[in-house]
Symmetry: C2
Subunit: 197 residues, 2 copies
């Protein structure tokens, strides 16, 4: 058992080295050789963990979404939707030293997935999960009679989800313009705008 | 004069070849050699147009924003804000065969700009211009007394801008989910939600 744990931990360390290379030098420089060097491993020993660059990329991209899912799982929900929903969506927003690098790497993999079919499959799965989160948010607001009547659910799901991803990319690119405070105000304002007064 | 025009036209053709390479095979494959091949030019003759890969990237990224600006300049505005604003923001959304490839390439350059300081400068300029467009939209709605009273302008600017960029990236990644009709409904619904009934 400890060996399996070590193996998984080591894979995560390699993936985190891949994240650092991608953030510092771009996807173009994220070769197995450069990632091995960043991780302090020989190219040969990388084969213990990943059989190909493609497998390493897949694992490194997936690790981002797993970290997000883990944070969501660990939220201590209060049961008050208007408190819980902002906390929930904050887990997918780049607001601190852990989540800003994650989001940068995620966008790099998303763009890479446009010309990489394996990564595209993973990206679609994560996109489906994310959209499902907004389906549940709008559904919960409606069930608790908090949502405005006559909302077009499909449109509100897309609008909330797009807002959060737009804020995420703007926060990564212009943290000096789109501050943490502005992001939180925008999320709260959006929630308020789809709810009864 | 014709020579200068030809030279500019040829540069645009090379940049469009760069777009195609980036879309097909990713930024990693967008070497001067591969772009020359796609453009039907020798690597040697590429030097007539661009002195370096960096200059070629800069020009190719800038061309995307110039195409957007040209479309905006050519809009026949009606003077009715609630008609004109959706038409305006549609120019930065990937809704057709011209604008979908543009947006894909734009996102690839945005990610590249995270590890490329020259592209980062250009990206910030375009981001400033885009944000200014939303400043003007919210200002115009307020001046014409169409906006809801008591809006927090700064937040509404960020919220509208983030929504549009979020819709743009979702439309590029999942056109089968986020259809043209849904995008247009989301934009109209957003506009309605910040305006008086």
């Amino acid at each position: 058992m400890p060996k399996i744990v070590d193996h998984e931990l080591q894979k995560e360390k390699v993936a985190e080295a891949a994240w650092r290379v991608i953030r510092k030098n771009g996807m173009e420089q994220a070769s197995v050789r450069n990632i091995a060097e960043e991780a302090g491993l020989s190219v040969g020993s990388m084969r213990h963990y990943f059989s190909s660059q493609s497998e390493l990329y897949m694992y490194s991209m997936k690790l981002v979404s797993e970290r997000v899912n883990l944070r969501i799982k660990n939220i201590a929900f209060t049961g008050e939707l208007l408190t819980d929903i902002p906390v929930l969506v904050q887990q997918i927003l780049p607001l601190n030293e852990e989540t800003i690098p994650e989001m940068e790497v995620w966008f790099a993999f998303v763009v890479k997935s446009m010309s990489d079919p394996s990564l595209a499959v993973l990206r679609k799965q994560v996109d489906d999960d994310m959209r499902q989160m907004f389906v549940m948010i709008i559904q919960a607001l409606t069930d608790q009679n908090l949502a405005l009547p006559d909302l077009d659910y499909d449109i509100e799901i897309e609008r909330f989800y797009a807002l959060i991803d737009g804020l995420a990319i703007h926060a990564v690119l212009r943290p000096e313009v789109l501050t943490k405070e502005k992001i939180e105000s925008a999320v709260n304002r959006h929630l308020q705008s789809i709810c009864r007064p």
